[in-house]
């Protein structure tokens, strides 16, 4: 556990034969003798090679701003109610359709037909553009997204959502990925005639190979009212853990993700909202046993909600079984879900 560069004595300089700390040149393979009678503090000798390695390692792109808390969020189980049947069918290498039937006890039952088109412009391993994803339910409500890589560093996305014939959400965004930073601008529901809309700007910068810092600015405007909200984010990535903190005027969000082993991953989240005057803590874990084709996720939070999902592939059939259960002890409520995915 802990960083790759934790507690290890500094190795003698390999081949170059120079001592960075004393400025002496020694033959290769020989260490530099200590010339001071005072023994340096242990932390100093352990920190120096770590700082040198961090200084030599080039900074990499920190990824998308929205993905900062993603690793921790993916550990937690998703709540599902009722019965869900999903059938996926690939018609070609570029085109896939899916049918989703949801029978719900709490909400409305629905049927959705979805289609996914993937283009032939390859930008990386398993990355093809443009990507068009859409689905429509039986009442004509549409969700659609178009994602395209315009240049090597510039990616754009358009998203639409309708409720029957009326457009509810429409937004476009452009994401630029530099060598060690990512900048994104999103425009949501722009209405030139009414003078309303939302603009969101994100910036995330790699400061060191382990640390990334960023900021978010949300500006919203409608007739007679406008306002802006800012928040700052910091992320520290260790060898097997990621700690992220987002602080803003609306509240704070802290997450800690830890990979204990190949099978076990753990996540802890703290959310505090100054607007709702409420805080909550969640603890979640994920057990992945590929040999048994089993994925189990469990969570418990400070609102006395305990939940779990079990996903099992029923090989050799192209079937996946999903069982889900959430218990709210405070409100004495239980939600149970059952799902089957074909294809």
């Amino acid at each position: 556990m802990g960083g790759v560069l934790a507690a290890s004595p500094p190795a003698p300089p390999p081949g170059a034969g120079s001592s960075a700390s004393l400025g002496l040149t020694v033959p290769p393979g020989f260490g530099t003798p200590s010339v001071s009678s005072v023994v340096p503090p242990t932390g100093e000798t352990k920190e120096t090679p770590r700082r040198q390695l961090e200084a030599e390692t080039p900074l990499i792109n920190p990824g998308a701003f929205d993905e900062c808390h993603r690793k921790c969020k993916d550990v937690f189980p998703l709540q599902m109610d009722g019965v869900r049947v999903v059938v996926n069918k690939g018609l070609s290498n570029h085109f896939q359709v899916n049918h989703s039937l949801l029978l719900s006890t709490s909400g409305e039952s629905s049927y959705r037909f979805g289609a996914t088109f993937v283009g032939s412009k390859q930008t990386g391993p398993a990355e093809f553009f443009p990507v068009m994803v859409g689905d429509m339910d039986s009442s004509g409500s549409l969700n659609a997204q178009i994602i395209h890589q315009l240049t090597a560093g510039l990616r754009s996305k358009l998203a639409f959502q309708t409720q029957q014939h009326k457009f509810v959400n429409w937004q476009g965004d452009a994401e630029f990925r530099g060598k060690d930073f990512t900048a994104t601008v999103t425009i949501g529901n722009p209405d030139v005639l009414a003078g309303s809309g939302i603009i969101v700007a994100h910036y995330l910068q790699s400061v060191t190979p382990a640390v990334a810092l960023g900021a978010e600015l949300v500006y919203h405007r409608r007739p007679g009212e406008e306002g802006a909200v800012t928040s700052l984010v910091g992320r520290y990535t260790g060898s097997n853990y990621v700690a992220t903190l987002t602080v803003g005027s609306a509240g704070a969000h802290a997450s800690y993700y830890h990979k204990a082993s190949d099978q076990l991953q753990v996540g802890v989240e703290l959310e505090a909202s100054t607007r709702l005057q409420d805080t909550s803590v969640s603890f979640g874990y994920q057990l992945d046993v590929p040999k048994a084709n089993l994925l189990f996720k469990g969570s418990v939070d400070s609102n006395w909600v305990v939940g779990a999902t079990l996903e099992k592939k029923l090989l050799p059939l192209p079937l996946s079984l999903l069982l889900c259960s959430f218990l709210n002890h405070r409100k004495n409520k239980v939600q149970v879900g059952f799902g089957i995915t074909v294809g």
Partner: protein, 64 residues
Amino acid sequence: MSGSNVKKGSSSRAMEWISSACRFAADKNDFRRNLLVNLGLFAAGVWVARNLSDFDLMSPQPVT
């Protein structure tokens, strides 16, 4: 007799203290107190996550 009364008194005081501590921690009306309690729970969760030992679910069971 007085010894058993003293013991009963101290155990009931301990139970009272525990129940008042639980009521204090679970009170949702005070945002700052709620935040402090949840910060402590978050720190405890991080400590548990960092100290989980590596285990293999598919390892053979020990022979008894």
